[in-house]
Structures are given as structure tokens and as C-alpha cells.
Symmetry: C2
Subunit: 340 residues, 2 copies
Amino acid sequence: MIKTTLKEIAEALNISISTVSKALKDYPDVSSKTKQRVLEMARSVKYSPNSFAQSLRSNKSYIIGLIVPAIVHEFFSNIIQAVVETAKKNGYVVIVLESDESYELEQKQIDILIEKNVDGILISLSDNTVNFNHIKSAMELGVPIVLYDKISKILNCSKVIIDDHNAAKIATEHLIKTGCTKIAHIRGPLKPQTTIDRMKGYKDALLKNNISYDKSLVYESANLSFEDGYELTDNILKDHPDLDAIFSFTDMVAVGVLTRLNELNIKIPEQVSVIGFSNWFLSQVTHPGLTTIDQSGHDIGRHAFELLLDELNGNVKESEKKTVTVPTQLIVRKSTRPIV
Amino acid sequence: MIKTTLKEIAEALNISISTVSKALKDYPDVSSKTKQRVLEMARSVKYSPNSFAQSLRSNKSYIIGLIVPAIVHEFFSNIIQAVVETAKKNGYVVIVLESDESYELEQKQIDILIEKNVDGILISLSDNTVNFNHIKSAMELGVPIVLYDKISKILNCSKVIIDDHNAAKIATEHLIKTGCTKIAHIRGPLKPQTTIDRMKGYKDALLKNNISYDKSLVYESANLSFEDGYELTDNILKDHPDLDAIFSFTDMVAVGVLTRLNELNIKIPEQVSVIGFSNWFLSQVTHPGLTTIDQSGHDIGRHAFELLLDELNGNVKESEKKTVTVPTQLIVRKSTRPIV
DNA sequence: TTGAAAGCGCTAACAT
DNA sequence: ATGTTAGCGCTTTCAA
């Protein structure tokens, strides 16, 4: 890219570089005549400062990094959208990277962002992240980091989460209120806090309602995919032919469950109720519509950027890292029975 | 971010900055002993060069800009994913921006990318882009631009497209082969080339099969949304109670159509067949599954970055801009009848 | 009111 | 084999 420089403008007007610079920044000690001449010239050559030079001098890039576990993913798309939008409103742009749920890749992406001298980083930890040294060493360099969605309790950063425990409890209790008593849970990979919390919410809802917790009713979906839900359905039905509901960690898996149940001509929700988590668009158009928990990726992304902005502006002390909890909502559709 | 500099390493080792620089770049004229000392030191302080300084000197940022009309959109998510992935393989990162189908916003996003001194830009034009001066002036600055998906024939850049005309023709002919004769088309906003080409493909398929083209069977979806499809269905049925198929510009609209037809207890495909475009995941789980045209966002994104890379490497002359056409495929599901 | 100069960190041509 | 120096474009302090 070939841009006109201050030097070129200065030469063309026969004044010094510093005067041009000051004129463009509306310094009070430049005569209005000079100012005008400079502004006109700048406009006519479409002057736009060399950001490398500015950044070198100020040590600020107005670029932040956003790491998501997956880009093709409705929830994370909403987060990306909100972060990009909120960042733009505040004069920042966003480099998007994908960890693909890999710990190694996640480390590399952090390194890349540090190499690029971003001003801050937003990250949802991958399902396989076992160690936080990469996050810690970025923090040691003074790069503000905000965790969202999949966080670690160990790390002392600002965070944006939902109340997974409570949301899962509400989902499970909804099933109980509709008369279900033998409820399976398809959980996610073991490490993320979200998995742990939703499982605990499920368990606590059962116990609170005097339903004993049966470990054999908990199944693991490794990939949280449609296929996982589809295939696990057969296992679940084989193990527990008499079950009356399935609470899935996430919508995509729940939709796999719905699809398989439909194929097997099992009546939903009369015979088996299904409930998901996230409220992806597709849960509106499945057959039947999927009852689920809505979590707003947009709100999570927006809050994450705003917390980061506080840090970028130096408004956050070590001791006062905030955690924002974004509300969730039960969305009742036809995959669950009416409340009895 | 506080990084160790070459100067600091040099001082610590009592050698000159340039020797440190050369050692890190494995220049042959540095003694292996010095090299070793420098590398060790660099590793121990986790040296990573200041990219601002490097960029200022080289006038290269290894950052590209990607403008999409919408981020929360399965097709564009695939494109973002592919661009980010392919860019990373080649040492680039990607700033993602959204035009939100607005011409004004699109202009601003181009300006922002120029301000950020990106090395190149990938863009799918917004539905409302009426004028290409913003693209042209970026090109005049020497910023390589590659258009993908929604392109303009006027602009002399590398492009990645699909054969919309042919794909739409295949979709329409499929309906004809299954015995449909009164086929409505829901088209997109008028300006984009994709709308024009798909409409022409629809029309040509009719004419080729001796079905007269009836303008009143063409409806416009302004937002290409679920709601548009849902609402247009009523209009279409009112205007043409005897129609037997609807070919929609895109899946989301087609799913709105399916939903409304289901509500009205109109048998799909016996009474009305529906065909979409794009092959979004949700078209697998609708009731019935949606016949559609698959277009690979991933391939489009990958090709787009690769074309840009050719330009970044200076391998493309003005006269030899390439246009890559990514293949599409008819995906037959249950929303269309069997071929007669 | 204007300009000169230093310096951000890095690279590379050019000494030594 | 190592070091000196100039310069990328900008900002800002200090001098005129």
C-alpha cells in the first residue's frame, strides 16, 4: 500500500513535518491559515496515517485478538459478531482465530497474537486446555485477557459467563414438572467448567425433587455434534428402554437425538421428552420444535469486549477483576410435555 | 504489552544490536558461539519482535482484512473459517469486519482496513452497494482486493464465484423432472449478481422445458430471512393457489416456506415442492428435509485467500486477474418429489 | 507560530 | 565476525 506521508505533504507546502502533524491534530499553536492549507492538502491526497509508525511510537495497535474454539458455530458466530461490532464502536478491530478445541493450537494462537502486538485478548478456552501457562505468560507481558464462556476459575482475569448450574437445573426441573422421572443427561467433554456446572445442575435438580441420581443415565458426547446425539440415542434407549427424557448439553446434540427418535418412531414428547441448551436457530424448525435454554452470544461478546476495554483504559486493578454473568432463559417448545 | 527488545538483549550480552538481529535471523556472518548465546538469551526472555517496527520498515503487516455482509450466517461462517485457516497456514492473520449489507458501512470498513495498513482485502459486496469507488480507490493505493460470492463484473480484480445461473437452472430443472410445472421463485434483493444469475437460471430452465415464464411467479425477499419466507408463502398461495413448487434464493427463506406450509397442512412435496440454495445444516433437520444446492463456503474462502496470496506475492499482472468458479451440487432430500 | 531533533524497534547496507 | 549508521513515518519536547 502506497500512502502519502507527512513528509510529502510538508514538502509540497514548504513547511515542516511537525507543523503538518500538529495541523492535522488540531494543535492550538498552528495558525488557522496553515491549518487550512494542510487539511485541504491532506483531504485531496486522502491522507491516512501510517499505522505502523503510530503504533511503534505509542505502543498501541487498536487491534485485539479473539480466540474461539470454533468459527462455524452459531453461538460463537454471535460472539464474534458482537465483539467485532462493539470493538468497532470503540475504535478497535478484531483479529479472529480458531483453536479448534485444541490445547496446542490455542497456545499457538496466543503466540501469534503476541507476535502481532495486539492490545488485548478475548478467549474461550478449548475443551482440551489442561494448563494455563500460555494465558499466564501473556498476562505477564501485560496483555489484558478476558475469558468468556469456557473459563478457568484459577485464572485471575475478568470473565463473562452464564450461570450454567442454575440454567441446567431449571431445564431439568422443567422436565420434572412435566412429569418426567427417568431423565438421561448427555454431557460434554469432561474438562470445561460448563460441562461440570451443567451436570451438577442436572444432578441437583434431581435430588431436590427426590429423584435418585443414577450415574448410568449420564452419557458423554465427545464432539458435541449432531452425529453424537444421533448415535448416543441408540445406546441410551438400549440401556434404559423406559426412560422418559433426555437433557442434552447443547442443541446440536439434542437435534441429533430428535432425528434418531423420529426415525425410530418414538413419540416426542409423549414417550421421550428432549431438551437442549443454547437456543440455536435450528431448534425452532426441528420436528418438533426443541425446548432449550437461551444464552445470548451477543450479550456475552459485548460484555467481554467492554470488560477488555476497561482494562485497556487502565481502569482495572489486579484485585478487582470482574465476572459478568449473563442471564439465560428457558424456551419452551414442543419437544417437552405441558407442565402437569 | 512489554516486550524485550533487541537493544536489551544486546546490552545484556555486551554486543551490538545488529549482531543480535543477525544472529536471530541466522545470518552466515555471525560466529556460532555468538549465535548460540543470542538464541539462548532470546529464548529465556521469550523474545518476540516488535511487529510495528518490522512493519514500519518492511511496509508489510501480514494482516489481511475480510469483509462479510453478515457474520451470523452459516455460509459466511464457513468462509471466515476457511480464510482464517488458510491465512494462518501462510503466516497471515485476518481482521474480520461486517458490512451488514450496507453500502455506507462497507465504505467505512474499507477505510478502516486502509487505516490499519492491511496487506490485502477480501470482500463480498453488500446487497446495497451501488458504486465501486471505495473499491477502486483502495486498488489505486495498491491494496490487492479479491472479490468473492457477491462480486461486480465491472471491477478488474481476482474473483471467486459459483455458477449461479447453472446451479439455479439445475435446481429448477430438477423440479420440472419431478413433474412440477407451476414453479414460483423467491428471489433476493435486485442488485447482487447472484440474484440476477439465479433468476436467469430459473427462467432459462423453464423456457428450455417449454414452460412459459410468468413474471407474477417471481417474489422478492428483501431480507432473505426465515420471516420473509414464512410471510411470502401466504402471498404466493393467495396469488397462485394451484402452484406446485417454490424455488427459493436461499435455504433460510425456504425453511420459512416449509414452516408455513406445514402450518397450513399443505403436503410437502406432494402438493408443493420446495427447493432451497446453499445447503445449510438446518436443511437436514427440517420437516421434511430440504432439497437444495450445496455451495461450499469453505472452498470459496480458501480460493479467495489463495488468489489474494498470489497478488501479495506479486504474481498477478493487471491483465491476468483470475476468476475461480467453485462447483456446486444438487442435494436431493424429501421436500421434492421423486423424478418421474 | 514554526521548526529541529530525538526516539519508538528493527533491518541492512556499509564500514571496520 | 562485529559494529556503526541511516532510515522506515510519526509524535512531541524543546528551541527559535
